[in-house]
């Protein structure tokens, strides 16, 4: 399979998360509704990480790209992941962004509902 665009960004994100003390559990986990870029653990919390990269800060920068529809898709996939793996931890959603000005880790980026 050819290298997907954004894979480079995801690798950078994994390195960043490890530095922050996360353990990577899975990458590019596919469900019926979509895909989760990185699944990680931080202590007793399972963290679903979305990685976004944009070359510039135009259009609101990379944070603006994780909109309500995207959040819903990630949440549905996360629910599927929890069910499929039988994981019984508290969950959280983080977002890692790369833009012209550098990398940012947004903890607790959004909630469901």
């Amino acid at each position: 399979m050819a290298k997907r665009p954004g894979t480079r960004a995801e690798e950078r994100a994994c390195r960043l998360l490890r530095r922050e003390g996360y353990q990577i559990v899975a990458r590019n986990w596919r469900g019926r509704f979509g895909e989760i870029d990185i699944v990680a653990r931080e202590g007793a919390i399972i963290v679903f990480v979305e990685v976004k990269a944009r070359s510039g800060d135009g259009f609101g920068g990379p944070r603006a790209a994780v909109d309500a529809a995207k959040q819903r898709r990630i949440a549905l996939t996360a629910a599927e992941f929890l069910q499929a793996t039988g994981c019984e931890l508290a969950a959280r959603f983080d977002v890692v962004t790369f833009s012209g000005s550098g990398a940012t880790l947004l903890r607790n980026a959004f909630w469901v509902g």
Binding site: I45, A75, L82, L89, A90, R92, N108, V112, G113
Partner: protein, 512 residues
Amino acid sequence: MFACLSSGAVLGIDACLIEVQCDLANGLPTFQIVGLPEKEVSESRERIRSAIKNSGFSFPAGRVTANLAPADVRKRGVGYDLPIALAILIASDQLSAVTERRLIVGELALNGEVRGVSGVLPLAHEAAEQGLKGLIVPSENGAEAALVRGVDTYPIDTLSDAASLLRGDLTIEPLRSDVGLRLSERSAQVTHDLAGIRGQTQAKRALEIAAAGGHNLLFCGPPGAGKSLLARCLPELLPPLSLEEALDVTRIYSVAGLLERGVPLVSTRPFRAPHHTISYAGMVGGGHGVPGPGEISLSHHGVLFLDELPEFDRRVLETLRQPLEDRSILLSRAGVSVRYPASFTLVAAMNPCPCGYLGDSAHPCTCSIRDLHHYRRRLSGPFLDRMDLFVDVPRLPVDDLFGSHRAERSVAVRERVAAARRIQWERMRGSTGRFSNAELTPEGIRTHCRLSGEARTLLKRAVTRFGLSARGHGRVLRVARTIADLEGEAQIEPKHVAEALGYRRQPAGRAE
């Protein structure tokens, strides 16, 4: 992973305890508030998240559920922010659990500051009644809550202060308030003095009777005669509020969120003068969810002044009929019904006709008969029947206007009124919630309004002659009782009945 704290819901002027439960479960991050919350309670989620984060705590991951029990009572207002936030902190082990039961209430700002809420006084009452040990309230409401004895009040300013208080790291002296002192603070100064109004002796006498017995009064006269000025003098003729009355009034103002900051106890009698465009919900109470108090309840133990009476919406005036008799109003809405006290003295002012000059010696009246009929029709018979004193306020004769005669000061009248009121208090001791002759029940009239033989004959004649209704008869008796009280007489004499009957006369020029 579970925590439970106490808070309270305000229903009318009463309150009930609400248990705030919080549970943390694993799963996708959600934050839900259940237990019949209104919109403003559901919205508190965003405030709580931010306040927790900005107070140096972290909002827990996973499923957060807050339940407000009992789940069948409608939850309104922003006072649940603080107890929910603290319950979340306890459930997530960021705060060690407390044993002592305390009622907690307060709105959170995004930065974790605690803001004042309305209705703290009824909540404090309920807490004391249910035997809770303490109250944690916004410091803005501290003095108000401290009016209630038997429960300790802890005022706090921020979420982190509240957390430290629960943890026991922070000791706050319970707030005390000296209620007696606050009541005696009333100044001897009078802002609207009767002495400032020239002439109008009859109207002033009627005002004195209304003040002494709490009777309803209707002024009728041409523009500029002084009707509004006279009405504004009434609150300061009334005796100061007793502690019991002051607490009653304060409860209503607390629920309405109208208490002034730093002045926790309403210590002066209310004077409410709503504009004639007022809606019926504004007058008797209403609003979405749990209905709030209206003008008639805000003038409880005080004066409700309706200037330009016929200009009011007829429907609004008719809604006053039942509270004028019952001295309270029951507001029933889907799923909730609340009773507010509404024992007020109604003072109304009107012109005799649309142009205002009917019966005036200097100005000819320009209204047609049709105009007159239309004007009069706006006031219904049943409504007018509830007025005790009809008083003409004629144009001031030129001699009175330029004369040097100084009228009696309000302070002197107030003393006579106070003496008459003291007699009434003595007489009505034991019948709860009733303080004046206007509030006498039919049984009260039978026991307290003893007539001399001659007075009875006179009243009997008047009833047949003027076709007084049973209610009208009772109202004449109450007014006569007050006039006798002003003179310090135990029995009602013919002259008292005669004067009382004199005030039953309908407005001048009413003969069609």
